[in-house]
Symmetry: C2
Subunit: 278 residues, 2 copies
Amino acid sequence: MDARGWLAERIPPVETALVNLLAPCDGVPSRLTGAMAHLLLPGGKRLRPALALAAAEAVGAPSERALPMAVAVELVHSYSLIHDDLPCMDDDDTRRGRPTVHRAFDEATAVLAGDALLTLAFEVLAADAGDGSARLAAVGELARASGAAGLVGGQVDDLAFEAPEADRARIESIHARKSAALITAALVGGGLLGGADREACEALRRCGTALGVAFQIADDLLDADEDDGCSLLRVEGMDEARARSEALLTRALEETRRFGEPAEPLRALACYAVRRSE
Amino acid sequence: MDARGWLAERIPPVETALVNLLAPCDGVPSRLTGAMAHLLLPGGKRLRPALALAAAEAVGAPSERALPMAVAVELVHSYSLIHDDLPCMDDDDTRRGRPTVHRAFDEATAVLAGDALLTLAFEVLAADAGDGSARLAAVGELARASGAAGLVGGQVDDLAFEAPEADRARIESIHARKSAALITAALVGGGLLGGADREACEALRRCGTALGVAFQIADDLLDADEDDGCSLLRVEGMDEARARSEALLTRALEETRRFGEPAEPLRALACYAVRRSE
């Protein structure tokens, strides 16, 4: 199955939803909307939204059922990049070839744009509820993945990361929270909105945990020459890291087997993400 | 009715819940938990939690039904203070007589502690749901109040505020978002968890909007000698501002009349907050 063709069909409604969320609105300063849109609307691969949609299909629902989760995870992803780029954190001037939000606007606006994107993710999940209990469970998934035990905690440990004390367990613990948590939330949340039962959710969770770390290793392999930060390449060679990433991808794919044919797009996306991430 | 006596009974479960949320936890860096607790646990007046609990009582429910909302609004309040204090915003070194979070820790940790507190608010609302649809509606209330059209948007306009262009409408528009939005969310969210119907929620919303602006004016009157920032005292005398605050309080109290006797604590709190806010 061709992941690109599937993406070309499924991602446009996500883009439209994101654009509509940032339409001019009473009481919202246009400078704020501009800063929120700066990174979000040009966007990246939309991997996390795609995974949310594919998870809904895997459990037998039309992908649009997972649209609120797809949008929410992309909002959280965008917020986390804006805050990570801040001068007090990674102090990056550019991202995806453009000035970072604090360079294009200013630092206060970047902090606040991130705050607003994070908040908007939960607003989207709470809007015009279909199944209230599935939506609420998705809120819980997203909050746990994004909070102190997930994304934020991973970033704290990443900032404090010191290469000499690196080992695989420590590095993968950071990857699990900084990368895999949100990817897992995309899958479980997409599944929940698609009507997944508890067992299906747990399979999606195991799939996401393996896929997220595999994806992060693949990402680090592409940036291998940069060689800073927390990467498995600090403690293992390229070949070992590549083998580890493939082994985790295999584990992720195995977890999707129970869903059969409807999980084809999910499997194609997983391979696409790990084997040619950017 | 004595607001202090009511508070002395109703607030301890909120304190206990906040302490438990920040207990040591696998995968959560202790530095992060420390920074999250720094401002939150010593705490302030706990006005917003009290309003959430009082709103539940006003609509005939036991106050503990609103405990998740009480906790959530205090988490959001604490996050907003931490981010407002940052060097790139108000650049405050102390708050409530102690070093601000970025002074006691560092700037990155302060940004991330705020992020984690905001996220935790939604996690709390999503946890062990009683009535899923009321909880989800409370998530929506909190997210709208906290986001680009509420707290965050108000802060953006407050930072850009220039005294020469000040008039009452402009100042109250900032107060409505920076102060009243979260107070309103506390009331409406507390009401929702207490089982309020749509009309009761709308009365609580009107009450919160008036009360929130009255409270902010009263706050500015107490800080009158500081005279910086966005305050009604920029364009009106102390007597006029005091009269405006009282008029808004009266309007807030009127909105609670429909609830009768069970709204006594809410009325007592409203008077307490406006007439002797600190």
